[in-house]
Amino acid sequence: MNAYVKACGETDFGTPQKVPEGTQSAGAGGLCMSGTPLRGQATAILEIDGVSVTVPAGTSLMRAAAEAGVMVPRLCATDSLEAFGSCRLCLVEIEGRRGFPASCTTPAEAGMKVRTQSPQLAKLRRNVMELYISDHPLDCLTCSANGNCELQTMAGVVGLRDVRYGMTGVNHFTDSVTDDSNPYFSFDPGKCIVCNRCVRACEEQQGTFALTISGRGFESRVAAGQSESFMNSECVSCGACVNVCPTATLMEKTVIDKGQAEHSVITTCAYCGVGCGFRAEMQGSDVVRMVPWKDGRANEGHACVKGRFAWGYATHPDRVTKPMIRAKITDPWCEVSWEEALRHTASEFRRIQAKHGRNSIGGIVSSRCTNEEGYLVQKLVRAAFGNNNVDTCARVCHSPTGYGLKQTLGESAGTQTFKSVEKSDVIVVIGANPSDGHPVFASRLKRRVREGAQLIVIDPREIDLVNSPHIKAAHHLKLKPGTNVAVLSAMAHVIVTEGLLDEDFIAERCEDKAFADWREFVVRPTNSPEALEGASGVPAAEVRGAARLYARAGNGAIYYGLGVTEHSQGSTAVIAIANLAMATGNVGREGVGVNPLRGQNNVQGSCDMGSFPHELPGYRHVSDTLTRELFERDWGVVIQPEPGLRIPNMLDAALDGSFLGLYCQGEDPAQSDPNTTHVTAALAAMECVVVQDLFLNETAKYAHVFLPGASFLEKDGTFTNAERRISRVRRVMTPLTGMADWEVTMALSKALGYEMHYAHPSEIMDEIGRLTPTFAGVNYEKLDAAGSLQWPCNDDAPEGTPTMHVGQFVRGKGRFLITQYVPTDEKITRRFPLLLTTGRVLSQYNVGAQTRRTANADFYGADLLEIHPHDAEERGIRDGDRVGVESRVGSTTLPVSITERVQPGVVYTTFHFPESGANVVTTDNSDWATNCPEYKVTAVQVSRLVGA
């Protein structure tokens, strides 16, 4: 094996790819997307060790050499970072020039003749290496990096045989102690060669700037924060520094414990909607570490603390591995065989249907499951249950996105790739907190802002993007919770009344009549920023400034999250966002667009797969006869033309006594859905609740059957991220339970008398492609070859569709819709004077079932209630106190954090820990169009606990 090809089989080209002018904005450290057409670029032809190479002008000699198959020794360079030129190992000779320039920092020029090997170069390199080794411990055989250490490799490459300065095997930082404070990696400064890669990775790639070099000269050393432990520093544990460290200084603790991997498998993170590609490094069926995949298009070699490190839950002792049943929810569980569990479930479901009718049962599928699993659950419900009672947790997060974008643009999905942000000039982030919720995307976004793009944040709370190292929002519209539509309509008012519309775009690409109606609506004085200032709390001048900035941007992009959708006007706000993008011509090319940041890994996919009571896969309404016939022919059943029940309707029907059986795959409504009391009462009223999950979750307390689930490491399938990117999930270990989830659904279907025949999830994907035009070109062979594909992928777009609505909208003409601001019914009163809004933190994931079962709890061990100093003082609350939080539906207690991040009158909490019961207080208000719950606004009172 070539010494420059790491154990994993990835080549390190030394410096980032230089992207030719006019093709792709070259973000710092940005890796080019292959397949981008190279147009009109300036190239240089040069000769390296006698081999002729053609590279884009500006490419480093090191990279040019690597492309020619010649590897130049290096220590401080790696291709995920800009060249730094500090180690002097990569020296080369250039004909006709004096000296020995560093190849990593010297740009290739046409006609150069470069030599990478000569007796003199060899001597110089050996001298450099000698100095390094004279100050490095020589315990290679017992070092955790043994076999995968670049220092070791380079010593071999330069032929180091002797060290004249002595080989005492010590480093001059003799006083150094290993910093083990981070739960996942350790920092042993005794092995550090001060190559600065870690510092640069934290800056360029992650954008946190947690590391520095303290001191100077011989005293230079890597320091976290103010020379403190990693845990106390600003480090967010993304692992980027660990990836690039060429030595064992920064090393995953799992590698220290287990040793280096012997094989690896490419798969996809199962946490958030960024959908990072990972290389699972394995010893047999044991995961040694998860390393972000350089060729993963969503993440390009970066990751966050969840995907990178928090995978240990898969083998947590809390995992249930045997099916269990019980007659009553008050009975103890009884372990049974798979056959018995499935037979029992089938007979219960059939009994309920016989007595209460076909529509008395249904299924819910989690957005954490694979596309194939989601598809099978809706097929089970439609074909075997014989109704349309299937829904997904996307209902509680992004259903307004599906509705709003379909109505306006014609497709229920985001319009861009993540990489598109590298071409944005103005970026609007609304109701999202990417640095916590979508960290790897946040790193890209921050990089673009550091390059000069402007940022507008619309959020009730001061999220990190408002003001953090090297990032400052041009505008922060700190609105009152529940007033997104007011602010967005006011921005539209400014754009129209100040003549900032993109008239040509609108005339060419949007419906005239709808636009005229909208225009007439937004220009009304009631929609001016001044008129809406009272409602939103945002000064009119700020709204005007933000609207102008966005409208005048060459490329304006909007990114939004659950802070937009989880409102009584969630769909209206999504529509208002689409209106803004159309009005300013910001759709249909790179750098612009409307981009929902999906919460869970497969929110997009589970929606695509028809996990909705009214839609078959591909967003086709069940009332559409042609679509129904297509599926009926393939499945050999009759599909009901009437939409089935949504989750809230199922729960209501349960309380009425007309809905009594539920199949719940990977979902935990008792914790994740609003108004817990109502949810649990409904579950308790059912006769057969079947829960399929990794752990006994909150809903399992109300279950009669528990079917153990399989983690993403135990199954094959695909996830679709927020950029419509379909990526493979690959099995790296056998299911602990003996069956992957898709096999369980198949077996249940068989027990119900409707047999499905799939030998492998690839066959499920083949069926999806056969029946869904946007997926027609998707299959596993193609996914394996391409790495990932963005739908629509079919004959019109065989390689997939990175940017949507190019040239024309999917629905033909874009449709503006009127967005009348209607205040939520959830109003503050004397009794409930504060508005509670919710969010999440970086280290925990949703209801926390997985992350709580990992060391991520060290970063955030309990939900906190954030409250403004004024509101705290008024109530006599001190930082850290436990307080009571009461809404009109329930109450709970939480520890308090006093901070000016929130505005007076607003309190904020996360919902990661079941004991906090955040959803005990959230109400069952919901979006008018889609029933998406209004998690983001609840009127509450906060009070000091007596005796506290």
Partner: protein
């Protein structure tokens, strides 16, 4: 620590006055050190926040420059030149002598790199106010004795 609020006020005022200067970090650090004699670690988060920097970056700059102190100085600061010309005429020996002589003393010893007295080293500076040339260990001791009795 009893006058921490006063220190905080000073830092606050300096940061507020200077934060919008281009390249404000060094002027802020200098002014804090001039005002307080050192740069308290508690000031770092405040400076970082005001300048959109990380704490680590500010810390990196403070530790890079010999000039900046992270702990309060003693009653007087003695800087022994450790640059080449002085080294050639016994500067290193003087520095070592000074280190031993000042152990446990309330005077602060710092290295400095060239005081502009290269022709007549080893050179020593006291409190950025007085310069001394051709400093022998005996001369050094005499200077220190004087400082120690001097209140």
């Amino acid at each position: 620590m009893e006058n921490l609020p006063a220190i905080e006020r000073t830092i606050e005022a300096i940061v507020a006055a200077k934060q919008s200067l281009p390249g404000a970090l060094l002027p802020i650090l200098h002014e804090i050190q001039d005002g307080l004699g050192y740069i308290p670690s508690e000031s770092v988060p405040r400076i970082a926040k005001a300048l959109n920097l990380s704490r680590a970056e500010v810390h990196g700059v403070i530790t890079y420059y010999q000039h900046f102190r992270q702990i309060p100085p003693g009653r007087h600061v003695l800087r022994v030149c450790c640059a080449e010309a002085c080294q050639a005429v016994g500067g290193e020996a003087l520095a070592e002598h000074a280190r031993l002589r000042l152990q446990g003393s309330d005077l602060t010893l710092e290295p400095v790199y060239c005081l502009g007295l290269c022709a007549c080293g080893p050179a020593l500076q006291i409190d950025e106010t007085t310069l001394h040339a051709r400093v022998t260990p005996q001369k050094f001791d005499a200077l220190v004795d004087a400082l120690e009795v001097d209140p």
